[in-house]
């Protein structure tokens, strides 16, 4: 049986003016579990608190009810008081007599009556309280970054800079991501490679950072502070240790007609290749599908010419298992596939290309050495039409409902760069809206219109077709209120972006929630934008939502600072009000895990023992370090096996009973 002390606070006249505090204390004395009750002017004051401590000792109290202001105000204070008095800090309940009673009611009789009910409710709950102890867990001081684009690179560098080990897992043979493919960056027009590649080198040379390129995360187990990841290192058939990156193999490779992914298939590469000159690591990879040695068994030229014997045809996938305290998702994006946009002619008309292809065309290291030449005949176009919002902001199922955010600005960039190189070229831009929020962004766009005389047409494009060697763009001009057909030599589609296709499986692996577009969900849209609701999982870059380079870099830094904050801790102290499942009642149906926003619930198949019970059962186990105590699982559980400490079913029902008494 509990021995409860009830302390009714006057809060000066805040409570006492409307509530007969003495009557509340007197009523408390009648409660079966109450061993002591009193009222006092300011319970939160020094003397109020020592009064509590004394009473706990004198009356041998097992728990205390403070009838005072809102628990949101002083719950922590009184928990500390209780602790100082030798009680478990969770043997404290607050009856909210101020904000939810004296301040909202005027009639003293009614307010007092309610105050007594609130006091009884708190006593009823406290009678069922159990001492709670917050769990502690250790933190592995190492972070995993999934994705080696600018987001992953920046996050890794920042974490490493704070002195922690970081591993980057990149599925492509090199880090760099999409930014490496860009020509210039808006609005400053500095060359993407010039600002990115030094960072790539920093990553490569930083001794705190390990790059697992051409690798994928295969499995993740554990929880915040204690993840274990299994990383598949795909066979690249080149020994990274031995290779010097001299490039002899790529020069001699006889299989030369393979579409070059880095240049968006606009030119070809060899079967053994380094994606681009500044690749990190600068180690070639053999594309086994197109390699003559792999296809026919004959060839082996690269091995012959390799001065360091680095070519290993018999290499197999290997696995690395590593422990991490935190995981950052930086899986990035891809332009959507345009297969379902037949009316735009992409794929049928060679001179209809995507923006990313146009980036490569303009890039000095690209397939045309930076000259804008039509893919169809290699001639310089006289008129280029840019089409915005291709696949973005749409209603149909082939389109994305969201704004891809970056297209307005890069199209303006393309237009400016084009006009800058070729002032004689005509440039039209079809747009729905031009969105330029960002520092110096609108100025940039206006330059395109005003300085470079780019012809912006407000309207959507309905059809693109070929006629007499020209690409005909049929669209509407909403300002001119007319339909028009523009004769172009080259059409560039500002294609919507979508999360990388690996995001969904990684999300599942990490039990990190995602939205319907497969973007990762943040823990709180405003207040915790770089954290996943799953503790220990952080979000960096476009995997969370469309964003441009500067935004990505700032989010990457923010994610890094969150990771550093976590890794700096030696121990994680949990919230003791967490869910727990009773193995004697649970039958492992799996419903609770479905509603857990944190992936805190897993299932084991183990022997269960209890009165008359000894059998192997599947049952739910809550990871207390991950559970945040929302209680969604408790209601989903039909068997009542799942309960929430501090807010148990019995406690809440006792409160209900006390109120309705």
């Amino acid at each position: 049986m509990q021995r409860i002390g009830v302390f009714v606070c006057w809060c000066g006249s805040n409570i006492a003016a409307t509530v007969d505090v003495a009557a509340v204390a007197e009523a408390a004395k009648l409660e079966p579990a109450v061993a002591f009750a009193t009222d006092y002017q300011y319970m939160c004051s020094e003397s109020g608190q020592s009064m509590i401590k004394d009473a706990v000792k004198e009356h041998n109290l097992t728990g205390i009810v403070i009838a005072s202001c809102s628990p949101r105000m002083h719950e922590t204070t009184f928990r500390k008081t209780a602790q100082a008095a030798g009680l478990n800090p969770y043997m404290v309940e607050i009856a909210n007599l101020r904000e939810q009673c004296s301040w909202v009611h005027k009639n003293k009789e009614e307010a007092t009556e309610k105050a007594i009910v609130l006091m009884r409710t708190a006593v009823a709950k406290l009678t069922l309280n159990q001492p709670l102890i917050a769990g502690e867990s250790s933190v592995t001081k190492r972070a995993l970054v999934i994705g080696g684009g600018i987001a992953g690179i920046q996050t890794a560098l920042d974490i490493a800079d704070a002195g922690y080990e970081v591993d980057i897992v990149e599925k492509k043979p090199t880090i760099g991501g999409k930014m490496a493919q860009l020509d210039k960056t808006f609005p400053t027009l500095d060359c993407a490679a010039c600002i990115l590649t030094p960072k790539m080198v920093d990553v490569a040379t930083n001794d705190k950072i390990t790059i697992y390129s051409y690798s994928e995360v295969e499995e993740v187990k554990g929880f915040v502070g204690n993840f274990t990841a299994k990383i598949r290192r795909k066979a690249r058939y080149v020994d990274e240790e031995l290779c010097t990156g001299c490039g002899a193999c790529t020069e001699k490779c006889p299989s030369k007609k393979n579409p070059n992914e880095f240049n968006m298939g606009l030119d070809n590469r060899t079967a053994i290749y380094i994606p681009f000159a500044q690749a990190v690591p600068k180690v070639p990879v053999i594309d086994a599908k197109n390699c003559i040695k792999f296809k026919t068994g004959k060839c082996g030229l690269c091995a012959t010419v390799c001065p360091s014997n680095a070519i290993k045809y018999d290499q197999e996938d290997t696995f690395v298992e590593e422990n991490y305290g935190a995981i950052v998702v930086a899986t990035g994006f891809n332009p959507i596939k345009l297969d379902e946009f037949g009316e735009l002619g992409y794929g049928q008309i060679p001179d209809v290309i995507t923006s990313l292809e146009y980036e490569r065309l303009m890039n000095a290291a690209g397939p045309t050495k930076g000259h804008v030449l039509r893919p169809s005949d290699g001639k310089k176009p006289k008129k280029i039409v840019f089409v915005q919002c291709v696949g973005s902001r749409g209603q149909s199922c082939r389109e994305k409902g969201y704004c891809s955010k970056i297209c307005c600005m890069y199209t303006a960039k393309h237009a400016i760069l084009t006009k800058d190189h070729y002032p004689e070229m005509d440039v039209d831009v079809f747009y729905i809206d031009v969105r330029t929020p960002g520092k110096n962004y609108d100025e940039f766009y206006r330059r395109a219109v005003e300085e470079y005389d780019v012809n912006y047409i407000k309207g959507q494009v309905g059809k693109i077709y070929e006629e007499n060697g020209k690409v005909m763009v049929q669209g509407s001009d909403m300002l001119g209120n007319k339909q028009l057909t523009v004769e172009a030599d080259l059409v560039v589609l500002a294609t919507a972006i979508e999360p990388d296709e690996t995001a969904r499986s990684i999300g599942t692996m990490l039990t990190a929630s995602m939205d319907t577009n497969d973007f990762f969900t943040e823990a709180h849209a405003k207040l915790r934008p770089v954290e996943s609701p799953t503790a220990g999982i952080y979000l960096s870059g476009v995997c969370q939502g469309p964003k441009d380079v500067p935004e990505t870099v700032s989010q990457a830094g923010a994610a890094a600072s969150k990771v550093i904050g976590l890794l700096a801790k030696d121990k994680l102290v949990g919230n003791p009000c967490v869910a727990g499942s009773n193995p004697l009642l649970c039958n492992g149906c799996g419903q609770c895990a479905n509603v857990c926003p944190y992936g805190a619930i897993s299932y084991v198949e183990e022997e269960v023992r209890g009165p008359g019970v000894r059998e192997v059962r599947r049952y739910a186990v809550v990871n207390e370090a991950v559970c945040q105590g929302c209680g969604a699982c408790t209601v989903t559980c039909p068997s009542g096996a799942m309960d929430l400490k501090g807010f148990t079913n019995r406690q809440i029902m006792a409160e209900v009973d006390a109120i309705c008494k």
Partner: protein, 147 residues
């Protein structure tokens, strides 16, 4: 029972409030001195998704005349998804109570943010009026709990 020949009918109202939004909203109603009848008694729960239909039935069993559940606005849940589940569960429960012929107006869900003290007070006033008009809960209570 709080019914007395001389006194008007004073309903018993149980309000479940989530710790992060609605409970704070209720506190704000207090610090802004917005009045509502003392018949409302609040139970603090971590999240609206903690509220089991069992608790609501329990309140009626014990003689509550109305039960209201307040949580963060959809999309603003502290735990990101809790109120979405609560929303479905309560929709189902309420429709079942209605199906059984029990006055559906005795149950209610309202989203009250931490900034909406005024909304909290207004909601409570309105809800009490509704329940007062319905009168005492007779259809869903255990007679033995009547003193």
């Amino acid at each position: 029972m709080q019914v007395n020949e001389n006194k008007e009918f004073r309903p018993r109202i149980v309000a479940f409030c989530c710790n992060w939004c609605s409970y704070v909203g209720a506190d704000l109603a207090g610090s802004s001195r917005m009045e509502y009848p003392a018949d409302v008694k609040i139970i603090r729960v971590p999240c609206s998704c903690r509220v089991n239909p069992m608790f609501i039935l329990r309140a009626f069993e014990r003689g509550a005349d109305g039960v209201i559940l307040c949580g963060c606005h959809p999309g603003d849940c502290h735990y990101s998804t809790g109120n979405y589940y609560a929303r479905r569960r309560m929709t189902m429960l309420f429709s079942m109570l209605d199906y059984l012929g029990i006055e559906k107006e005795r149950t209610r869900v309202e989203w009250v943010s931490a900034a909406e003290g005024a909304k909290f007070a207004a909601t409570m006033n309105e809800f009490i009026d509704t329940v007062k008009n319905l009168g005492e809960n007779r259809k869903l209570r255990d007679l033995r709990c009547k003193e």
